[in-house]
Protein backbone atom coordinates (compact mmCIF):
# COMPACT_ATOMS: atom_id res chain seq x y z
CA UNK A 1 0.00 0.00 0.00
CA UNK A 2 1.46 3.38 -0.86
CA UNK A 3 1.19 6.32 1.44
CA UNK A 4 -1.47 8.29 -0.46
CA UNK A 5 -3.71 5.24 0.02
CA UNK A 6 -3.00 5.58 3.71
CA UNK A 7 -4.46 9.07 3.68
CA UNK A 8 -7.65 7.95 1.94
CA UNK A 9 -8.15 5.04 4.35
CA UNK A 10 -7.72 7.40 7.27
CA UNK A 11 -10.27 9.77 5.80
CA UNK A 12 -12.75 6.94 5.39
CA UNK A 13 -12.10 5.71 8.91
CA UNK A 14 -12.62 9.11 10.46
CA UNK A 15 -15.59 10.40 8.45
CA UNK A 16 -17.48 7.11 8.94
CA UNK A 17 -17.63 7.63 12.69
CA UNK A 18 -17.41 11.37 13.31
CA UNK A 19 -18.58 14.61 11.75
CA UNK A 20 -15.51 16.45 10.61
CA UNK A 21 -15.77 20.24 10.52
CA UNK A 22 -12.70 20.79 8.42
CA UNK A 23 -10.09 18.50 6.97
CA UNK A 24 -6.76 19.24 5.45
CA UNK A 25 -4.23 16.99 3.79
CA UNK A 26 -0.96 18.74 4.50
CA UNK A 27 1.10 16.22 2.56
CA UNK A 28 1.17 12.45 2.16
CA UNK A 29 2.52 12.08 5.69
CA UNK A 30 0.22 14.45 7.55
CA UNK A 31 -3.53 14.86 7.77
CA UNK A 32 -5.46 17.28 9.92
CA UNK A 33 -9.06 16.98 11.08
CA UNK A 34 -10.97 19.63 12.94
CA UNK A 35 -13.75 18.14 15.02
CA UNK A 36 -16.17 19.22 17.70
CA UNK A 37 -14.95 19.31 21.28
CA UNK A 38 -17.17 16.39 22.32
CA UNK A 39 -15.96 14.12 19.53
CA UNK A 40 -12.26 14.29 20.36
CA UNK A 41 -12.24 11.42 22.85
CA UNK A 42 -14.23 9.15 20.59
CA UNK A 43 -12.04 9.90 17.62
CA UNK A 44 -8.82 9.41 19.57
CA UNK A 45 -9.95 6.02 20.85
CA UNK A 46 -10.95 5.00 17.31
CA UNK A 47 -7.55 6.02 16.03
CA UNK A 48 -5.80 4.23 18.85
CA UNK A 49 -7.68 1.06 17.96
CA UNK A 50 -6.63 1.52 14.34
CA UNK A 51 -2.94 1.67 15.21
CA UNK A 52 -2.16 5.28 16.04
CA UNK A 53 -1.12 4.26 19.50
CA UNK A 54 1.30 7.03 20.37
CA UNK A 55 0.41 10.60 21.28
CA UNK A 56 3.24 12.53 19.82
CA UNK A 57 2.21 16.03 20.81
CA UNK A 58 -0.49 18.06 22.45
CA UNK A 59 -0.51 21.81 22.45
CA UNK A 60 -2.75 24.79 21.98
CA UNK A 61 -3.09 27.77 19.67
CA UNK A 62 -4.51 31.04 20.91
CA UNK A 63 -6.99 32.56 18.41
CA UNK A 64 -7.57 35.76 20.30
CA UNK A 65 -9.81 37.39 17.64
CA UNK A 66 -12.21 34.44 17.70
CA UNK A 67 -11.96 34.29 21.50
CA UNK A 68 -11.07 30.62 21.24
CA UNK A 69 -8.25 28.24 21.96
CA UNK A 70 -7.48 25.49 19.50
CA UNK A 71 -6.16 22.25 20.94
CA UNK A 72 -3.98 20.18 18.65
CA UNK A 73 -3.44 16.48 19.30
CA UNK A 74 -0.93 14.78 17.06
CA UNK A 75 -0.99 10.99 17.02
CA UNK A 76 1.60 8.74 15.52
CA UNK A 77 1.59 5.26 14.07
CA UNK A 78 4.61 2.97 14.10
CA UNK A 79 3.42 0.95 11.08
CA UNK A 80 2.04 3.60 8.72
CA UNK A 81 3.95 6.78 8.04
CA UNK A 82 1.11 9.22 8.63
CA UNK A 83 0.75 11.69 11.47
CA UNK A 84 -2.81 12.67 12.27
CA UNK A 85 -3.65 16.01 13.80
CA UNK A 86 -6.91 16.30 15.71
CA UNK A 87 -7.91 19.89 16.27
CA UNK A 88 -10.74 21.25 18.31
CA UNK A 89 -11.77 24.72 19.35
CA UNK A 90 -12.64 25.51 22.94
CA UNK A 91 -13.94 28.63 24.58
CA UNK A 92 -11.24 31.06 25.64
CA UNK A 93 -12.94 32.60 28.67
CA UNK A 94 -13.28 29.43 30.70
CA UNK A 95 -11.07 26.96 28.85
CA UNK A 96 -11.65 23.39 29.96
CA UNK A 97 -11.14 20.13 28.15
CA UNK A 98 -11.68 16.68 29.61
CA UNK A 99 -8.45 14.81 29.99
CA UNK A 100 -7.42 12.08 27.54
CA UNK A 101 -5.42 10.20 30.16
CA UNK A 102 -7.54 7.01 29.89
CA UNK A 103 -6.74 6.85 26.17
CA UNK A 104 -3.18 8.14 26.10
CA UNK A 105 -1.53 8.09 29.55
CA UNK A 106 1.43 9.98 28.12
CA UNK A 107 -0.72 13.09 27.83
CA UNK A 108 -0.19 13.80 31.53
CA UNK A 109 2.76 16.13 31.05
CA UNK A 110 1.43 17.73 27.87
CA UNK A 111 -1.72 18.67 29.71
CA UNK A 112 0.28 20.13 32.56
CA UNK A 113 2.25 22.17 30.05
CA UNK A 114 -0.89 23.40 28.28
CA UNK A 115 -2.33 24.40 31.63
CA UNK A 116 0.81 26.27 32.57
CA UNK A 117 1.27 28.18 29.32
CA UNK A 118 -2.35 28.72 28.26
CA UNK A 119 -4.37 28.24 31.41
CA UNK A 120 -6.48 25.42 30.02
CA UNK A 121 -7.93 23.19 32.72
CA UNK A 122 -8.02 19.42 32.22
CA UNK A 123 -10.49 17.93 34.68
CA UNK A 124 -9.71 14.26 35.25
CA UNK A 125 -5.97 14.83 35.22
CA UNK A 126 -5.20 15.24 38.92
CA UNK A 127 -1.83 16.84 38.47
CA UNK A 128 -2.71 19.31 35.72
CA UNK A 129 -2.39 22.28 38.05
CA UNK A 130 1.08 21.41 39.27
CA UNK A 131 3.90 23.57 37.96
CA UNK A 132 6.03 21.99 35.29
CA UNK A 133 8.42 24.44 33.66
CA UNK A 134 7.78 27.86 35.12
CA UNK A 135 8.47 28.23 38.80
CA UNK A 136 6.48 30.58 41.02
CA UNK A 137 4.75 32.17 38.05
CA UNK A 138 2.78 35.23 39.11
CA UNK A 139 1.14 36.57 35.94
CA UNK A 140 -1.33 35.40 33.31
CA UNK A 141 -0.16 32.31 31.39
CA UNK A 142 2.72 33.53 29.22
CA UNK A 143 1.84 32.05 25.83
CA UNK A 144 -1.53 33.75 25.65
CA UNK A 145 -1.54 36.43 23.00
CA UNK A 146 -2.62 39.16 25.42
CA UNK A 147 0.47 38.60 27.57
CA UNK A 148 3.19 41.14 26.80
CA UNK A 149 6.59 39.53 27.43
CA UNK A 150 8.50 42.78 26.89
CA UNK A 151 6.52 44.68 29.49
CA UNK A 152 6.95 41.81 31.93
CA UNK A 153 10.69 41.66 31.27
CA UNK A 154 11.07 45.43 31.62
CA UNK A 155 9.26 45.44 34.94
CA UNK A 156 11.00 42.42 36.34
CA UNK A 157 14.58 42.34 35.05
CA UNK A 158 16.68 45.51 35.13
CA UNK A 159 18.37 46.41 31.85
CA UNK A 160 22.00 47.36 31.53
CA UNK A 161 22.42 51.04 30.88
CA UNK A 162 25.07 52.29 28.51
CA UNK A 163 26.48 55.79 28.79
CA UNK A 164 27.74 55.89 25.19
CA UNK A 165 26.11 54.48 22.16
CA UNK A 166 28.91 52.95 20.18
CA UNK A 167 26.83 52.09 17.16
CA UNK A 168 27.72 54.26 14.23
CA UNK A 169 24.72 55.10 12.19
CA UNK A 170 24.85 55.08 8.43
CA UNK A 171 24.20 58.78 8.09
CA UNK A 172 27.29 59.81 10.02
CA UNK A 173 29.69 58.07 7.71
CA UNK A 174 30.12 57.89 4.00
CA UNK A 175 28.57 54.78 2.59
CA UNK A 176 30.78 51.90 1.57
CA UNK A 177 28.12 50.50 -0.71
CA UNK A 178 29.75 51.65 -3.96
CA UNK A 179 33.09 50.18 -2.98
CA UNK A 180 31.46 46.93 -1.95
CA UNK A 181 29.61 46.75 -5.24
CA UNK A 182 32.82 47.40 -7.16
CA UNK A 183 34.63 44.64 -5.32
CA UNK A 184 31.79 42.27 -6.00
CA UNK A 185 31.73 42.90 -9.74
CA UNK A 186 35.50 42.54 -9.79
CA UNK A 187 35.27 39.14 -8.15
CA UNK A 188 32.47 38.09 -10.50
CA UNK A 189 34.69 39.07 -13.43
CA UNK A 190 37.44 36.86 -12.13
CA UNK A 191 35.17 33.83 -11.91
CA UNK A 192 34.74 32.40 -15.34
CA UNK A 193 33.94 28.81 -14.55
CA UNK A 194 37.49 27.60 -15.11
CA UNK A 195 37.71 29.03 -18.65
CA UNK A 196 40.62 31.25 -19.60
Amino acid sequence: MNSMNNVTTIKELVTKKITVLKEEVIDQYQVSFEVKKDDVHHLLSVLKQAGWRQLSYLSAVDWIEDNEFELVYIVFNWEKPVHIQIRCRIDRNAPTMDTILPIYPGAKYYEREAHEFFGIAFPGNDSHEKQLILENWDDIPPLRKDFDPKAYSDARFPKREYSNDHVEMNGQKESKQAKREERRTHILDLIKGGKK
Binding site: K130, Q131, I133, L134, E135, N136, D138, D139, P142, F147, P149, K150, Y152, S153, D154, R156, F157, P158, K159, R160
Partner: protein
Protein backbone atom coordinates in the same frame (compact mmCIF):
# COMPACT_ATOMS: atom_id res chain seq x y z
CA UNK B 1 72.35 36.11 64.57
CA UNK B 2 69.84 38.10 62.69
CA UNK B 3 70.14 38.20 58.94
CA UNK B 4 70.93 41.61 57.54
CA UNK B 5 69.58 40.67 54.16
CA UNK B 6 65.97 40.11 55.10
CA UNK B 7 63.86 42.41 57.16
CA UNK B 8 61.27 41.00 59.50
CA UNK B 9 57.88 40.53 57.80
CA UNK B 10 54.59 41.21 59.47
CA UNK B 11 51.95 38.50 59.50
CA UNK B 12 49.97 40.40 56.89
CA UNK B 13 52.91 40.49 54.50
CA UNK B 14 53.54 36.79 55.03
CA UNK B 15 49.91 36.02 54.25
CA UNK B 16 50.16 38.11 51.16
CA UNK B 17 53.21 36.19 49.97
CA UNK B 18 51.42 32.91 50.52
CA UNK B 19 48.43 34.20 48.58
CA UNK B 20 50.73 35.13 45.71
CA UNK B 21 52.19 31.65 45.67
CA UNK B 22 48.70 30.20 45.87
CA UNK B 23 47.50 32.40 43.03
CA UNK B 24 50.38 31.23 40.85
CA UNK B 25 49.30 27.62 41.22
CA UNK B 26 45.63 28.43 41.05
CA UNK B 27 45.79 30.32 37.81
CA UNK B 28 47.86 27.61 36.19
CA UNK B 29 45.50 24.82 37.13
CA UNK B 30 41.98 26.14 36.78
CA UNK B 31 39.33 23.49 37.09
CA UNK B 32 36.15 24.40 35.38
CA UNK B 33 32.59 23.68 36.25
CA UNK B 34 30.67 24.02 33.02
CA UNK B 35 27.12 25.16 33.54
CA UNK B 36 26.04 24.81 29.94
CA UNK B 37 22.84 26.81 29.97
CA UNK B 38 22.73 28.02 26.41
CA UNK B 39 24.12 27.79 22.92
CA UNK B 40 27.56 29.21 23.77
CA UNK B 41 28.36 25.83 25.27
CA UNK B 42 28.99 24.63 21.73
CA UNK B 43 32.23 26.65 21.80
CA UNK B 44 33.61 24.54 24.62
CA UNK B 45 34.19 21.26 22.70
CA UNK B 46 36.61 22.86 20.22
CA UNK B 47 38.26 24.78 23.05
CA UNK B 48 38.75 21.61 25.06
CA UNK B 49 39.72 19.18 22.34
CA UNK B 50 42.80 19.10 20.16
CA UNK B 51 41.90 22.13 18.03
CA UNK B 52 42.66 24.65 20.79
CA UNK B 53 43.53 22.28 23.62
CA UNK B 54 42.64 24.09 26.81
CA UNK B 55 44.76 21.65 28.76
CA UNK B 56 47.87 23.58 27.76
CA UNK B 57 46.58 26.45 29.88
CA UNK B 58 46.21 23.99 32.72
CA UNK B 59 42.44 24.00 32.51
CA UNK B 60 40.38 20.91 32.85
CA UNK B 61 36.82 19.87 33.53
CA UNK B 62 35.67 19.05 37.03
CA UNK B 63 32.62 17.11 37.99
CA UNK B 64 31.51 18.72 41.22
CA UNK B 65 31.17 22.35 42.30
CA UNK B 66 33.04 21.68 45.52
CA UNK B 67 36.28 21.01 43.68
CA UNK B 68 35.94 23.54 40.87
CA UNK B 69 37.58 26.96 40.61
CA UNK B 70 35.84 28.52 37.63
CA UNK B 71 32.16 28.50 36.88
CA UNK B 72 31.44 28.89 33.19
CA UNK B 73 28.00 30.33 32.52
CA UNK B 74 27.55 29.67 28.85
CA UNK B 75 24.59 31.61 27.60
CA UNK B 76 21.17 32.81 28.59
CA UNK B 77 19.77 32.05 32.02
CA UNK B 78 16.13 31.42 32.57
CA UNK B 79 14.78 32.01 36.06
CA UNK B 80 14.74 28.29 36.61
CA UNK B 81 18.40 27.84 35.74
CA UNK B 82 19.42 30.95 37.66
CA UNK B 83 18.09 29.37 40.84
CA UNK B 84 20.20 26.28 40.27
CA UNK B 85 23.17 28.42 39.28
CA UNK B 86 23.06 30.35 42.54
CA UNK B 87 22.92 27.04 44.41
CA UNK B 88 25.90 25.80 42.45
CA UNK B 89 27.90 28.97 42.92
CA UNK B 90 27.36 29.03 46.64
CA UNK B 91 28.55 25.45 46.91
CA UNK B 92 31.90 26.19 45.29
CA UNK B 93 34.86 26.59 47.59
CA UNK B 94 36.73 29.87 47.64
CA UNK B 95 38.41 31.43 45.75
CA UNK B 96 35.94 31.05 42.91
CA UNK B 97 35.63 32.81 39.61
CA UNK B 98 32.89 33.18 37.03
CA UNK B 99 33.24 33.55 33.28
CA UNK B 100 30.13 34.75 31.48
CA UNK B 101 29.77 33.79 27.83
CA UNK B 102 27.93 35.60 25.12
CA UNK B 103 25.81 38.71 24.99
CA UNK B 104 22.97 37.05 26.91
CA UNK B 105 24.86 37.20 30.19
CA UNK B 106 25.85 40.82 29.53
CA UNK B 107 22.56 42.46 28.55
CA UNK B 108 20.11 39.74 27.64
CA UNK B 109 21.16 39.49 24.01
CA UNK B 110 18.44 38.33 21.67
CA UNK B 111 16.37 37.25 24.67
CA UNK B 112 16.21 40.78 26.12
CA UNK B 113 12.39 40.84 25.92
CA UNK B 114 11.66 37.32 27.07
CA UNK B 115 9.47 36.65 30.07
CA UNK B 116 11.68 33.80 31.23
CA UNK B 117 15.24 35.10 30.83
CA UNK B 118 17.18 37.49 33.06
CA UNK B 119 19.07 40.36 31.47
CA UNK B 120 22.14 41.13 33.56
CA UNK B 121 23.92 38.26 35.18
CA UNK B 122 26.16 40.42 37.38
CA UNK B 123 23.23 41.69 39.38
CA UNK B 124 22.69 38.21 40.78
CA UNK B 125 26.17 36.73 41.02
CA UNK B 126 29.52 38.47 40.46
CA UNK B 127 31.13 37.91 37.07
CA UNK B 128 34.89 38.24 36.65
CA UNK B 129 35.29 37.95 32.90
CA UNK B 130 32.80 38.42 30.12
CA UNK B 131 33.39 36.93 26.69
CA UNK B 132 31.31 39.00 24.32
CA UNK B 133 29.78 37.78 21.10
CA UNK B 134 26.73 35.93 19.94
CA UNK B 135 28.18 33.45 20.08
CA UNK B 136 31.85 34.20 20.82
CA UNK B 137 34.28 32.35 18.60
CA UNK B 138 36.69 29.92 20.14
CA UNK B 139 39.64 32.29 19.95
CA UNK B 140 37.85 34.82 22.10
CA UNK B 141 36.84 32.09 24.53
CA UNK B 142 40.48 31.12 24.92
CA UNK B 143 41.38 34.78 25.19
CA UNK B 144 38.81 35.15 27.95
CA UNK B 145 40.49 32.37 29.90
CA UNK B 146 43.89 34.00 29.49
CA UNK B 147 42.33 37.28 30.66
CA UNK B 148 41.01 35.52 33.73
CA UNK B 149 44.51 34.24 34.50
CA UNK B 150 45.90 37.76 34.18
CA UNK B 151 43.19 39.07 36.47
CA UNK B 152 44.03 36.43 39.07
CA UNK B 153 47.68 37.39 38.78
CA UNK B 154 46.88 41.08 39.31
CA UNK B 155 44.51 40.25 42.19
CA UNK B 156 41.59 41.74 40.27
CA UNK B 157 39.49 38.60 40.02
CA UNK B 158 37.79 39.35 43.29
CA UNK B 159 34.16 38.69 42.45
CA UNK B 160 33.86 36.18 45.29
CA UNK B 161 35.03 38.80 47.77
CA UNK B 162 32.47 41.23 46.36
CA UNK B 163 29.80 38.58 46.73
CA UNK B 164 30.69 38.21 50.40
CA UNK B 165 30.90 41.94 51.08
CA UNK B 166 27.76 42.96 49.18
CA UNK B 167 25.82 39.83 49.93
CA UNK B 168 22.70 41.74 50.98
CA UNK B 169 22.58 43.59 47.65
CA UNK B 170 22.97 40.40 45.64
CA UNK B 171 20.40 38.58 47.76
CA UNK B 172 17.94 41.41 47.32
CA UNK B 173 18.36 41.40 43.54
CA UNK B 174 17.92 37.66 43.47
CA UNK B 175 14.77 37.98 45.48
CA UNK B 176 13.38 40.70 43.22
CA UNK B 177 13.86 38.62 40.09
CA UNK B 178 13.15 35.16 41.42
CA UNK B 179 10.66 35.79 44.18
CA UNK B 180 12.22 33.02 46.17
CA UNK B 181 15.62 31.49 45.62
CA UNK B 182 14.68 28.20 47.25
CA UNK B 183 14.04 25.45 44.73
CA UNK B 184 10.64 23.87 44.99
CA UNK B 185 9.83 21.29 42.37
CA UNK B 186 8.53 17.78 42.42
CA UNK B 187 12.05 16.37 42.63
CA UNK B 188 12.81 18.36 45.76
CA UNK B 189 9.57 17.67 47.59
Amino acid sequence: MKSTKFSELTQEQIDRKWWEIGDFFRRNSLWMLMYCTGCCAIELPPAMTSAYDMERLGMGPMATPRQADVLLVTGYLSLKTLRRLIYTYEQMSEPKYIVGFGSCTINGGIYHDSHAVINQLDRYIPVDVYVAGCMPNTESVMNGFVDLMTLIKNKQANGWIKYKENNDWYKQNQKEALGEVKIKDEFHE
